[in-house]
């Protein structure tokens, strides 16, 4: 009985650890965009060095999950909690990496960004941040409906991504001297699109966690 209770406590702690990591990743994404929009290399550097903490936390929590599976041999929902936990951790860690990618791009364009071709990148970033927030809120509340709604936003992000991609390419054709800088914006748009996909993955994980069924929402 006491064994079971300590297992429950460990499962609850796992959720807290995942949320801790999620908070770091959300901050990281926000700061990376801030670095890009304000052309601030200091903020970009902060994002790049901050990623170590995210990676460390990920390994720590993932090891915990593996230990729980090995020692407790969980079944049914308990097993789902741990397995989706590992999947969400992986997704979050990759999202942190994308934030670092954006920060690196921000450092490369710092000081020589032409003002026009930012296009819809800020709008796209806001949508992605909302998706990440909604995905994690769905995880906190076990809210399948919210997870589904969040995943639906991915199509919109893809649409904006395609549009931005086209616009940036025409801009580069018209202004060849801007290519060394605008290429990085192209990459930022791509990273944002990937971030939206990762957020969708988290949405799918939440649905699996609650219902026990897999739904491809991407």
């Amino acid at each position: 009985m006491s064994n079971r209770r300590s297992f429950d406590v460990e499962l609850a702690d796992l959720k807290q650890d995942i949320l801790r990591m999620a908070s770091l990743v959300e901050q990281s994404i926000y700061k990376a965009m801030e670095a890009l929009l304000n052309q601030d290399p200091l903020i970009a550097k902060g994002v790049i060095t901050g990623d170590d903490a995210i990676d460390r936390l990920r390994y720590e929590v993932e090891n915990n999950c593996i230990r729980l599976i090995a020692t407790q041999q969980p079944m049914a929902r308990d097993l789902r909690v741990i397995v989706t936990g590992i999947k969400i951790l992986t997704n979050l860690e990759r999202m942190g990496d994308h934030a670092v990618d954006i920060a690196r791009a921000a450092m490369c364009v710092c000081g020589r960004m032409p003002t026009k071709p930012l296009e819809r990148i800020p709008q796209m970033a806001r949508m992605v941040q909302h998706m990440v927030k909604d995905g994690l809120d769905a995880y906190v509340h076990g809210d399948v409906e919210k997870a589904r709604q969040m995943c639906a936003m991915d199509d919109e992000v893809d649409e904006i991504y395609n549009l931005t991609f086209q616009n940036l390419i025409s801009y580069m054709e018209a202004n060849p001297h801007s290519i060394p800088c605008v290429v990085y914006l192209l990459l930022v748009a791509r990273y944002l699109e990937r971030l939206a996909d990762r957020a969708t993955n988290i949405g799918e994980d939440v649905i699996y966690l609650v219902t026990g069924e897999w739904h491809e929402l991407n």
Partner: protein, 449 residues
């Protein structure tokens, strides 16, 4: 209590003995058969046994019933037993206890209402958690700031409710150390807001922490603007001063002996002093306008006249640059309410910019009646303003293109003065622009007095 039971038992036994003795005597005397006497004796015993509960158990049951009601929280019930024996005393004690509980409870409720009123009316956000960082209370400010709902948040950990790594760490630090903690924290809500957070550990067996959130986003922005203003103003004042000092030093060092060089330097010094003078004038103007925002004179002003006079001031300069003026002022414009000198300043500043930033084409001035007011538009075919600069051009010392504007002169305060005057008149100034094609400023002023 026990005495009552004893007394009742003893008197019942005595009575039983008496009745049995009488029955025995009667049957012994041959009046009754032994069997009938036995039956009568038994009957009597049953009657006595039935009477005992009526006197003892029943009142006790009533007391127990009411005690149960009280335990369930119904404090309105009282026990109706008016005897002065033990059961009566017990009932009385119960009634007193219930009454006192009622008093305490209403005091607690009152206290709770007062707490609730304070929490609801506080300008700061409050989150209280238990020893395991589970939320036990949040107030409306927190609900609003973080988009939460108190009911859905209670019992959840602070990390689940406000997903912030640093905030969770602060709560744990306060819990573990038992000491107050305070820190500035930027929390994504999802838009970032800056909070000054004070966390105070709760004393008592269960532990816990109360956190106070003060939103300092706006204050920090104002502080930043003020610092920038002082830095900008100092910079703008220093540039002409450096130049003046440089030329004076050169004059001392011998240039004074060469009349032609001396004259040239003096001309430059003269220009720079003029620029300094202009800058200080503009700063003072802005300060006065800000100070008297709501005390402007409100007299009828014919805008057509004011605009026409402003156009005349710039006609020569425009002609020299090869620019055309096109002025469309309807004759039937109603007068607006305001201070004629300040409103002149508005159009002088707008036309000054239009002429300054336009190299070819025309400057168009139109006016028309609007609902409750008059609108005047100053449109040029100049260099235009990029979208990200558009929201900032009314800031003091903001310059879209630093190299170009410093070449053209000006204090960097013109549009800030325009905005302050127009808004001080309860009006509005709008701008639209396309880089490379030109800008249009529209001033809306009220005709209401």
């Amino acid at each position: 209590m026990r005495r009552r039971i004893q007394r009742t038992a003893i008197s019942s036994l005595l009575l039983l003995w008496l009745v049995l003795t009488v029955l025995w005597a009667v049957s012994a005397a041959g009046y009754l058969s032994q069997t009938v006497a036995m039956v009568l004796g038994l009957l009597f015993a049953v009657v006595v046994a039935a009477a005992v509960p009526r006197f003892i158990s029943e009142p006790l049951f009533r007391v127990a019933e009411t005690a149960e009601k009280i335990a369930e929280g119904d404090l309105t019930k009282t026990i109706q037993i008016h005897e002065s024996d033990e059961v009566g005393k017990l009932a009385q004690s119960f009634n007193q206890m219930a009454q006192r509980l009622r008093g305490t409870l209403s005091m607690v409720t009152q206290e709770k209402n007062r707490m609730q009123a304070i929490l609801d009316s506080m300008a700061d956000g409050v989150i209280a958690v238990d020893g395991e960082t589970r939320v036990i209370l949040i107030n409306p400010v927190v609900e609003e700031a973080f988009g939460l709902n108190e009911e859905a948040s209670l019992g959840k950990t602070v990390l689940e409710v406000v997903r912030d790594y640093e905030l969770d760490r602060l709560f744990r630090q306060a819990l573990d150390s038992g000491r107050p903690v305070q820190q500035e924290l930027r929390i994504l809500t999802p838009d970032p807001r800056l909070f000054r957070v004070h966390l105070t550990p709760l004393r008592g067996a269960q532990g816990g922490v109360v956190a106070l959130f003060r939103d300092i986003t706006e204050r920090r922005q104002l502080e930043k603007m003020r610092t920038e203003f002082v830095a900008n103003a100092s910079h703008e004042l220093r540039t002409p001063l450096t130049s003046i000092r440089g030329f004076i030093e050169t004059l001392w060092d011998g240039a004074l002996d060469d009349p032609e060089t001396a004259r040239r330097f003096l001309t430059i010094i003269d220009e720079e002093t003029r620029r300094l003078n202009e800058l200080v004038d503009d700063l003072l103007k802005l300060a006065t306008i800000e100070e008297r925002r709501n005390l402007f004179r409100r007299q009828p002003v014919e805008l057509a006249e004011v605009v026409q006079r402003a156009v005349e001031i710039f006609e020569t300069r425009a002609r020299q640059k090869g620019l055309r003026f096109s002025v469309e002022l309807p004759a039937d414009l109603p007068p607006v309410a305001g201070d004629v000198n300040l409103l002149s300043q508005v159009f002088i500043n707008l036309l000054d910019n239009a002429v300054k930033f336009t190299d070819k084409g025309e400057i168009g001035i139109r006016a028309w009646k609007e609902d409750g007011g008059v609108a005047v538009e100053v449109r040029d075919t100049g260099i235009g303003i990029t979208p990200e600069h558009l929201s900032r051009i009314f800031e003091r010392f903001f310059r879209a293109d630093k190299s170009r504007t410093s070449e053209l002169g000006g204090t960097g305060l013109g549009l800030a003065i325009v905005k302050h005057i127009v808004e001080g008149h309860g009006g509005e100034v709008r701008v639209t622009s396309r880089p490379g094609e030109g800008s249009a400023f529209t001033v809306l002023l009220s005709t209401g007095f």
